[in-house]
Symmetry: C2
Subunit: 454 residues, 2 copies
């Protein structure tokens, strides 16, 4: 039997893990500096916690876990006539658990379960894998990480300001130049009202969301196909093409949306967030008011964000927004919040592309002690024990092989130094370190090793 | 609908995560100092990678993932007569993936898939959750972490020495006083030979493994029930009751097993490992030659380990051993190795019991800036941005509530300091920090904050 792994999944070796952990550690430290605290939820949830939350397509893509024990007997109890069984209607009888599909629903479930105990506002971050039975393709996996930071229980716009700063500081830490696109769902609602397509708000935003990918002509075509009339489209075009700096855009909007209350609300929220962020100043990110930013999900109700790496066309590497009602689906009302997420897999690709990962690998800090026989090994291990207690990664080659073989092993593993610690060195209480790349070698006293390596 | 989580699973809050991460970081740093490199494998494997590897009971406890799409139609193609369907024989037709049950089989699968590319010996560590459909009970979960370090591709006994040092240094770092029990499967095989029960080696070791829990009488009773005769038991008793220091035990064994080749091999391996470790010296662990240590798994072939916390009866917090053939099940021969694992969940309980976790929590490093209104908030956020860039965790209370409410929030969250940064402070470029626990407060210049906190 030739072993393999399921499609859409990956083994991560140390080199990849080191890079992934590098990104994750930067996210973590920025989250924690902003007083978000970590939460981890179980890998699987009760099936009914997840179903119905992601639309019909989403439900199909949830990985369901088969019940243990005699699941068929249990299913037959509920549905004795097997000839009537269909995959769809029997799933709930043979599966009652499913793998996490995103981090938002488990978070909502957690808040709903514990809202009595939480001091609000509650700020949590969560970095965990999720699973989707999607068709795998380049850059899309069936197991991948999501990284979310949310604040619930507060409607203050200062959170929108803070989250903008969080995007800025995190990507500055990662050295990725970014644009933060910002918009407000209230403005989109107002525009729909202005163009008399209130009842087609979702069709409108879904089409608008594709502007970047397919261009304005295709967007208008899609809107038209969805039944948005010519009059409405004529009113939408100047808004989709709105240009100028922030003040110019806002001033035009103020005129156009003058009679629409939700539009004036959206404008005032946007002005608040934009001006405060501008006043505080961003480290390196560019904040762009993008009236055509729509975001796919329809639970957003206020400010929405999308982050793009500059000069790379890889789509968004982050996104989020404000929502009114996180936990309504679980029977807990009045839980507004705002959150952002970071796209780990794409950030990884951007960092590779821009060559932003630190050069040194774990191997490159290691010392391999050559094996000259058991007597020398014993002395070497004494020294190795001491060095490890000083945080130096080192190891003994386990077999008394020819030196050439030991050397080749070190080379293949990209180990930085080999150590000669034979009879001579042991007697003189010294060690000879050889830099594998440069070939340079040096005899050091034991006390000098630590300094030499740093 | 009242939300819950599946039985045997847990949400981890920041306090628990901080403790779990503390343990994991100590494991990681010790693994990496010993030149083990990380590996992560997918959460699910192909079902046939896992089945048949853990015995019949194990197979039952594997969580299977239901195939996506119209799984019933697919199953009917292979097994048209639904009346003949049984849960057991149909599982493979409706499920082709399953959640990881341990880290050893995925590691074996990885080595078998990549053995051409790996430089041997290959040292990997892996810290990931595994899932078992076990009956949940106190301290036993359906989702829990395993932490394994293995070396494959080498039969050198120096690895046994190194792994003993690794247990020692890691638990010393965690401040947990431990005993490392060590034995050798070759000695157990020799004893079985000596007592003429070679064909009942597994019954013998399985019963012996329970000595700690059920005592010698029950162990002998179980052996007798399994058909081990009175003559054999009489020969076993002095060996089970073997006492004395290391040299005394070895000397008695040398006599008893004098004619048994595998026994002499076991003795010589044990002498090598024990004497080298003794010569190098352990930081704090106690190494105990325990001839009654058996370990449940039957794939071990040489040295075996088990670690116990001193003065706490919580069972083992680590274990491992040498095996001859990791990847034979996947068609790759000659892959000997040796590995140890750390029981994260039990280590956590021991650390709690002994009060060994660091006192400071994430909250306890935070500063909460009181909200005096938008004008002050803007200035506060400027300062907050600066402090965060200096790795100080701080935040703004988002609403302009009564100070008492803001204070109560900080208290409930166990935040260390609240910051007053109102008009006076802004004008004088100072800040007032109040220690919530002690009530002490101090007016500082902005430059003094960093030093004050450290």
């Amino acid at each position: 039997m030739k072993p393999g792994i399921p499609k859409g999944t990956r083994d991560f070796t140390s080199k990849e893990l080191q890079k992934r952990r590098y990104i994750i550690s930067k996210l973590q430290s920025n989250f924690e500096k902003s007083c978000f605290l970590p939460l981890e939820t179980p890998s699987f949830e009760n099936l009914d916690t997840l179903t119905g939350k992601y639309g019909e397509e989403g439900d199909r893509l949830i990985f369901k876990i088969l019940n243990s024990g005699d699941f068929l007997a249990e299913a037959k109890k509920k549905n004795p006539d097997m000839s009537q069984w269909k995959s769809k209607n029997i799933t709930g009888s043979i599966s009652e658990k499913a793998l996490r599909y995103d981090l938002t629903v488990p978070f909502a479930r957690y808040v709903a379960m514990n809202h009595g105990q939480l001091s609000l506002p509650f700020k949590r971050y969560q970095i965990q894998p999720v699973w989707r039975a999607d068709r795998p393709q380049k850059g899309r996996y069936r197991e991948f990480y999501q990284c979310d930071a949310d604040i619930v229980g507060s409607t203050s716009l200062w959170h929108e300001v803070s989250l903008t700063l969080l995007y800025d500081s995190t990507f500055a830490d990662l050295n990725i130049p970014i644009e933060i696109h910002i918009n407000n769902r209230k403005l989109l609602a107002a525009i729909a009202q202005y163009a008399s397509i209130e009842n087609q708000l979702i069709d409108f935003t879904v089409a608008l969301d594709k502007l970047d990918k397919i261009g304005i002509d295709k967007v208008l075509e899609e809107m038209s196909n969805k039944g948005i009339g010519q009059n409405s489209l004529q009113k939408l075009i100047p808004l989709i093409e709105l240009s100028g700096n922030f003040e110019e855009k806002i001033s035009q909007l103020k005129d156009i949306l003058i009679d629409i209350e939700i539009g004036q609300e959206g404008i005032s929220e946007m002005e608040f967030v934009y001006s405060q962020v501008n006043e505080i100043g961003l480290t390196s990110a560019e904040l762009i008011f993008n009236l055509t930013l729509a975001r796919g999900l329809d639970y957003y109700t206020g400010t929405i964000y999308e982050v793009k790496a500059k000069n790379i066309s890889l789509g968004s590497i982050g996104g989020g927004g404000r929502y009114d009602n996180l936990t309504g689906i679980f029977g807990v009302k009045n839980m507004p919040g705002v959150g952002i997420s970071f796209g780990l897999e794409r950030i990884y690709l951007v960092m590779e592309e821009l060559n932003l990962f630190p050069k040194s690998t774990l191997h490159q800090k290691q010392i391999l002690f050559f094996n000259f026989g058991d007597k020398e090994c014993l002395q070497a291990l004494k020294l190795i024990k001491e060095l490890r207690s000083k945080n130096i990664a080192c190891d003994l080659y386990p077999e008394k092989s020819k030196l050439q073989k030991q050397f080749t092993y070190a080379e293949k593993k990209e180990i930085a130094f080999v150590a000669f610690y034979g009879e001579d060195e042991i007697n003189t209480n010294t060690i000879t370190l050889k830099n594998i790349k440069t070939g340079a070698q040096k005899n050091l006293s034991i006390e000098e090793i630590e300094e030499f390596l740093s």
